[in-house]
Amino acid sequence: MNSMNNTINEIKAALKPLKMETPAFRQIAVVVKPDTVHNALSYLKQKGFTQLSIVTCVDWIKESEFELVYILFSWTEGIHIQLRARIDRDKPVMVTATDIFPGAQYYEREVHEFFGVEFTGNEDAAKPLFLEIWDDLPPLRKDFDPQAYSDSKFPMRERGNEFVSEIGGHDDE
Amino acid sequence: MNVMSFVYGFLVLLGVFVFQTTLTGLNRKVTARLQKRYGARWYQQFLDIFKALRKDSTSHGWVFDFGVIMALGGIMATVIFIPVAGFEAFPGLDNIFVISYLLAVGMLGMAMSAAGSGNPWASIGVARALTNMLAYDVPLMIVIFTLIFAFDSSSLSEIAALQQGMGILGWNAFRMPLGGIVAVIALLGMLGKKPFDSFIAPTEIASGPMVEYGGKHLGFMFILHEFMTFIEVSIILSLFFGGGATIWEYMLKYAVLYTFMNIISGVMPRFKIDQAVKYFYRVPLAMAIVQGLVVIFTGLGVTLWF
């Protein structure tokens, strides 16, 4: 546990986080200012957190903020770190992490695709990744209405009389 | 060589097709029973083939079609040369080398057509099939070579005839037991049965060479497969199990041998292709060479050894 405490202390000293907690065993959650994320990532990588497990995003629509979450892992110490930062929801911009973790490319593209966050410095971030063709709001934003989209794009079956099961089914309606 | 020969040849083809397809259908039932299933109808294989012939098909260019025709043509020519219970449509041409190389025409045609489809899986399948062939053929050919040396003949019917009339122990499989074992293992490889079926692995490489065939091409492949099975089993039957004095004996023996192969295959897992090569070049090759040396230097097996 000592190394854990040491790590916490060191990180606290180095990153000067807004908030810090340990949500589970050998996990640290650090909340930092968005403009320090890049520095924090490079600091952590140099501390031994060499694996970027994921970059994802949470839509806090009431606060009108996106919370970017970077999860890193250290193979030497076995500690996970969540690095969180909140950015403005109306102008979601973040500095890319691809220069530190080249693998962040695909996470950033995903976040861009599903939330519309822009990553400065990552030219490829705007390329489509999962949604092969998309023409609406980013779908995981909470103000996106999937029902409406689905109705407009994928017409549903009209439930009329012709839809009666022929093979002994039991229809509840 | 006269017209009758061709008529006989055609009849042989028809007969072999009906016989072998029925047997395949029955064997599907046998396999099903091994797996505690009810299994397909005995004529299911006919239904499958005719259905495939009935369907529309897709072609990937002329070599795709040409290869299929060349394959079936070559294989059918080979079938005509196979002596069945001493009967040959073209007497005297049942030379083992002729048969095994004419068989290769069919294989080459099939490989060409499959690769001509442009599907990478087909190419992988062909690569595996050819590797497999290299694996099983060398031990088998050594054993066959031993037989030729022993009996001074490379004619299937002559070698078969030599084994008859001495009871079951006159069969080469018992005169040369190691060679017999090699032949049976090699037959598994030839038939593409498990454990040597990695080249058509359906879930792994999408049935390999067959990947792009549909409709009549697929029907051709099925017919080809029946004929090829007949040729392969017949070679081993004639060389090692005495062929058959009468057509009924032949058919009975054939059915037993083929079913036996199926039963072995039914309980086997699958070798990777390099494992298959290693296996063939370790056990059967050693056995074949030992058998060959025994026959060449001691003469045991040429004469009955009891």
Binding site: F130, S150, F154, M156 | -
Partner: protein, 183 residues
């Protein structure tokens, strides 16, 4: 599909349909959760080979395209591609409620609502999930339909190709897409 149409097949077609009905080779498009129901259908408990049915490796060889469960836009593109690679006569059996009306994913932005708008479904097997009994029952029905010459989805597709194509394009944008991962 219109089921009650006059039987105007000739003898050869009838024989052909007999073969087709008794030898059903399937290509399973197993993107949905329904795939798990198929192994029991195939193996010794239900043994679909009795009816001459069996799985096939590629759409070229198959007669039936079996779509098990929901289809996202992404998978629908592939399903259409596969269907077009199949050789006629070809049939589609849709499996599970998702293919009928989107199932529990009816409001998803990525999952389509109903399959028959895009491809000619010959037979639906309802349920979430349909048990193997139902699957076998459904296939019995398909066999009957083929024998009677009623499974004419593929002809319908040919005749109404424009309509299907329009629906496909409306929902999917394009069917055959080209991006950095497909080059």
């Amino acid at each position: 599909m219109v089921l009650d149409e006059k039987d105007n097949r000739n003898v050869w077609e009838k024989i052909g349909d007999y073969f087709s009905a008794n030898s059903i080779w399937m290509k399973w498009y197993c993107t949905g959760c329904g795939a798990i129901e198929l192994p029991p259908t195939m193996t010794s408990r239900y043994d679909m080979e009795r009816l001459g049915m069996g799985p096939m490796a590629t759409p070229r060889q198959a007669d039936v395209l079996l779509i098990t469960g929901y289809l996202s836009t992404k998978t629908l593109r592939r399903v259409i591609y596969s269907y077009e690679q199949m050789n006629s006569p070809r049939f589609i059996v849709a499996f599970g409620s998702c293919t009928i009306n989107g199932g529990i994913y009816y409001d998803s932005y990525a999952t389509i609502g109903r399959l028959d708008k895009y491809l000619p479904v010959d037979l639906y097997i309802a349920g979430c999930m349909p048990r193997p009994e139902v699957v076998m029952n459904g296939f019995n029905e398909l066999i009957k339909m083929i024998k009677k010459g009623q499974a004419k989805g593929w002809k319908h597709y040919q005749e109404n190709y424009e309509w299907y194509k329009k629906n496909q394009l409306d929902s999917l944008g394009e069917v055959i897409i080209k991006d950095e991962f497909h080059e």
